[in-house]
Amino acid sequence: MTDEVILLDYWPSMFGMGTTKIALAEKGVAYEYKETDPRVKTSLLIETNPIHKKIPVLIHKGKQICEPLIQLEYIDEVWSDTYPILPSDPYQKAQARFWGAFIDKKFYDPSWKVWGTTGEEQVTAKKELLEHFKTLETELGDKTYYGGDVFGFVDIALMGYYSWFKAIEKFGEFSIEAEFPKLTQWTKRCLERDSVVNSLADSDKIVEYAYVLRRKLGAE
């Protein structure tokens, strides 16, 4: 029943946008999607995420789960009979959680500053972001996916940011493909999956959206 699972999300969101959608798609879970602009604090948003008032919010059988990576673990545990997102080995699981946390904590701030600010603030953010990309490129190495042979937790966490890569490259004036070839090949492999393609916003639309925001922020 689709009304068992509801997802409140916002199409251009950078909060690992697509992370939760990709996971639900991988598991074949039907859900009702509610477009929710987090800047408009509707009663539904406040009621379901009173502490942070942020999206995405996953509602399952009337209970809300917040934060993309927590949602990922929840989805994996509830729909455990199909396509595991996390490995079963405790050590592999710990490694996946570590890299998920790295992406969750380190990516957001420099990412938005690269497209949303100018001058010294942007230069510092770009340097930091490039370092993080380098760390992720090294960690990927010659593996097919971050978890090895199987598309999983870390891949989903990072691909959640993919729609914004073009905007980050454009306003940051660098090329991910030129600097991080392994990561680029990995994104192409991920984009072969329906779950990913159907969950991500169009990169060009995001660039347009970023332009509008940059003007508002005074960066244009």
């Binding site: 502490i51 209970k63 917040c66 929840y74 545990e77």
Partner: protein, 227 residues
């Protein structure tokens, strides 16, 4: 029962290290504690946690696990047949525990620390107000999670108890520094009583640093600017 070779790199004063040690105690796992010297980072630490270069690091049969909350979950899963479960069993309860543990680190702790780094009375007052507001959220979280039982996790200490409880030593130190009660028996009675139970738990008591010693260490870590 063979637990394998277990080492923990850490420090007596670290909240995050304490989390790992409480979890190991709950599972009755013996381990070698490798105390880092304040101000330096050992070669083993740098090798085992090249990304963050921070403690704690758990090394189990030469394989390193980093980040305190990830280590606690690892301990629960690697030794799942030892002792009681640290995470709740139901997916929704696990999600709630993880949510509040993240809140403790990302929101509550940041506010607590800003009391120590506040410059001037105005900044300090604002930081205290923020901590009080966030502690109030945690009081409500306790009532919701514990469901009438003694701990966030129910009858026994669990993931969220460990996440917040490990701060109790520093909580007292910041209270002394701010000269202001931050865990109030009348404002947050459930948390107040939970704190006493947590500190008296046999798996926690030997690890909780002595307040005077920790306060002295805090003065080193957060030196006051010259007047």
């Amino acid at each position: 029962m063979v637990t394998g070779d277990v080492k923990l790199i850490g420090s007596w004063a670290s909240v995050f290290v304490m989390r790992a040690r409480i979890a190991l105690n709950l599972k009755s796992i013996s381990y070698e504690f490798l105390q880092e010297t304040y101000g330096t980072k050992s070669e083993l630490l740098l090798k085992s946690n090249p990304v963050h270069k921070k403690i704690p690091v758990l090394i189990h049969d030469d394989k390193p696990v980093c980040e305190s909350n990830i280590i606690v979950q690892y301990i629960d899963e690697a030794w799942s047949s030892y002792g009681l479960s640290i995470l709740p069993s139901q997916p929704y309860d696990r999600a709630i525990a993880r949510f509040w543990a993240a809140y403790v680190d990302d929101k509550w702790f940041i506010a607590l620390r800003s009391i120590l780094t506040a410059r001037g009375e105005e900044e300090k007052k604002a930081a205290i107000a923020e901590v009080e507001e966030r502690t109030d959220h945690l009081e409500k979280a306790f009532i919701e999670c514990s469901n009438g039982k003694p701990f966030f996790n129910g009858d026994h200490i669990g993931y969220l108890d460990i996440a917040l409880g490990s701060f109790l030593g520093w909580w007292k130190v910041v209270e002394l520094d701010a000269n202001h009660i931050l865990l109030d028996e009348t404002k947050t009675p459930s948390l107040f009583q939970w704190a006493e139970r947590f500190c008296n738990d046999p798996d926690v008591k030997p690890l909780m640093p002595e307040t005077t010693k920790l306060a002295e260490f805090a003065r080193k870590l957060f030196p006051k600017p010259q007047a």
